[in-house]
């Protein structure tokens, strides 16, 4: 297994990263091709008040994003991030790398690694904190949302008068975001959305996969809250339904992300798990937003995917958009539980400056 990992690192990731930079810098050699490079990042400050109190000032995720067009039909999109991973070290991640073929009107075929379009957040915000309405992702991302999928995707957007969209993809399961083990672990995602106005979007999705070893869950790499390693190494079936409602108007902003999943193991049977994130913001003087949010996550007693866990989070915050490429968020959070009190309650105060160049 380790050998596979090394082969993947040396023979796949490095050439891809070289291609990524070649695409950027070889632009002048190809008059037909146009490419744009952007950079995003954020700097964080957080104070945690629980049994112990501490404060951190840290460099957040930094990323490079490239969008290139080969011709009218083929385009390329790549996104790599750098994350602090200990004293003087940074981890390089390939977050998105996809080749898109726009075969008919607004219908496309996409191959590569992309964000799994299971909900509004994962389909619209990706990694740039600049676009996040709150400082952190919803709790469900730290437990079961499969952030990335490597595979093949059929996409349609802005179809018809009512702006319908669809995504149908087949690819890697939750065990790996970078290698699609075609005959051993596959995930299927089907998603539809509807945009009745420019500001509003409704979406529904279904996701299913089976895994041979539930302890290998790459999807947990986006946790920013408490998270323990999965000790269960047996097979597990995972089915998930999501619903999103988003409204980002000139004055009011509302986002609701609902997620339900059902896990099944031979050991403990079926477990039903649920999570909901609600954000409401009120914009004033164009660049200021005051917001509040409520996030809740509950997993069943016999769940062997995320293990029994329940958490509630209350959010109160303020965002100032200095420009479309620079904003500042300040947020007060209160965490507590419904049943299991082992995690305890705590307050967190966070400030985040996020930017895009």
């Amino acid at each position: 297994m380790n050998q596979n990992k090394n082969i993947f690192g040396d023979q796949i990731v490095k050439p891809i990263i070289w291609c990524f930079f070649l695409l950027v810098f070889s632009n002048s050699l190809h008059s037909q091709m146009s490419a744009r490079l952007n950079a995003y990042g954020h700097i964080d400050f957080e104070s945690v008040f629980s049994d112990t109190t501490y404060s951190n000032f840290s460099l957040g995720e930094q990323e490079l994003f490239i969008n290139a067009k080969f011709n009218d039909e083929f385009s390329f999109l790549g996104e790599i991030t750098l994350n602090y991973s200990g004293h003087g070290n940074y981890r390089l991640n390939l977050e998105r790398l996809r080749l898109k073929y726009n075969y008919y009107k607004n219908h496309s075929l996409i191959i590569g690694k992309f964000h799994t379009p299971v909900n509004y957040w994962n389909d619209v915000y990706f990694h740039a904190r600049l676009f996040f309405p709150t400082i952190d992702r919803p709790l469900m991302f730290s437990k079961w949302i499969p952030v990335h999928t490597f595979g093949m995707r059929l996409q349609g957007q802005n179809i018809g008068k009512n702006n319908f969209g669809y995504d149908l993809l087949v690819g890697s399961g939750m065990g790996s975001e970078d290698i699609y083990k075609v005959f051993s672990e596959t995930s299927i995602t089907a998603a539809v959305h509807w945009k009745p106005t420019d500001e509003m979007r409704f979406g529904f999705s279904g996701y299913l996969t089976s895994m041979d070893d539930a302890s290998k869950m790459a999807v947990h790499s986006h946790s920013s809250v408490e998270h323990e390693m999965n000790m269960y190494t047996g097979p597990l079936d995972f089915q998930m339904l999501n619903a999103s409602i988003a409204y980002f108007g000139e004055k009011w902003e509302v986002l609701n992300e609902f997620s339900f999943n059902r896990t099944k193991t031979d050991t403990l049977g079926v477990s039903n798990n649920i999570s909901n994130y609600t954000y409401v913001g009120r914009r004033f003087l164009e660049k200021n937003v005051v917001f509040t949010g409520f996030d809740v996550l509950y997993t069943g007693e016999n769940d062997l995917h995320t293990y029994p866990y329940d958490r509630m989070k209350f959010i109160l915050g303020y965002k100032y958009e200095y420009s479309e490429r620079l904003n500042l968020k300040a947020q007060l959070e209160y965490y507590t539980n419904m049943n299991d009190h082992s995690l305890g309650s705590k307050y967190e105060f966070k400030i985040q400056m996020s930017y895009g160049l």
């Binding site: 009218d72 385009s75 009107k105 676009f131 802005n158 106005t197 500001e199 958009e321 479309e324």
Partner: protein
């Protein structure tokens, strides 16, 4: 009860859409003209042309790629044009497009500081569209007529 419910719904509707209650100006009523180069759409409805500016379509009916050209922050009419085409401030338009590009859904628009620059860009790029004031000298073949 019904009376109270009706008032409640009206208040909710106002809170949610209050900003959109100001109706948009009809482009034919103001002194602007929509220009495009080889779009295959010499006559088009106002609603449809606005959808092209908003990135709803990637291609024209003649298969040419849609290239959106917009007024930049240095353009004297930037807020007016933004309001006409998007019913938003220029700040909101930039945010809207910035997000679309990052999602990988659209190519980024091009921004120009004057009507002359917009006209020159459209002239040189098949598939490009922009709006400029009618008072400018615009070649007839670039003008897109809008249906009522």
């Amino acid at each position: 009860m019904v009376y109270s419910l009706r008032h409640f719904l009206i208040i909710v509707l106002f809170l949610v859409t209050g900003n959109n209650l100001n109706s948009q100006t009809n482009l034919n009523d103001v002194s602007v003209v929509v220009i495009g180069n080889k779009t295959g759409s010499e006559k088009i409805s106002e609603t449809t042309i606005k959808e092209y500016f908003k990135g709803k379509y990637n291609k024209w009916p003649n298969k040419k790629t849609v290239i959106v050209a917009l007024a930049s922050s240095n353009h004297p009419n930037v807020e007016w044009y933004s309001n006409l085409m998007f019913n938003k401030s220029f700040f909101a338009v930039k945010k809207y497009w910035y997000s679309l590009v990052f999602q990988g859904r659209n190519d980024p628009p091009y921004f120009f500081a004057s009507d002359q620059e917009l006209i020159e860009f459209v002239k040189l790029n098949p598939g490009a569209i922009a709006i400029v004031e009618k008072s400018n000298k615009v070649p007839e073949n670039l003008k897109i007529k809008l249906n009522e």
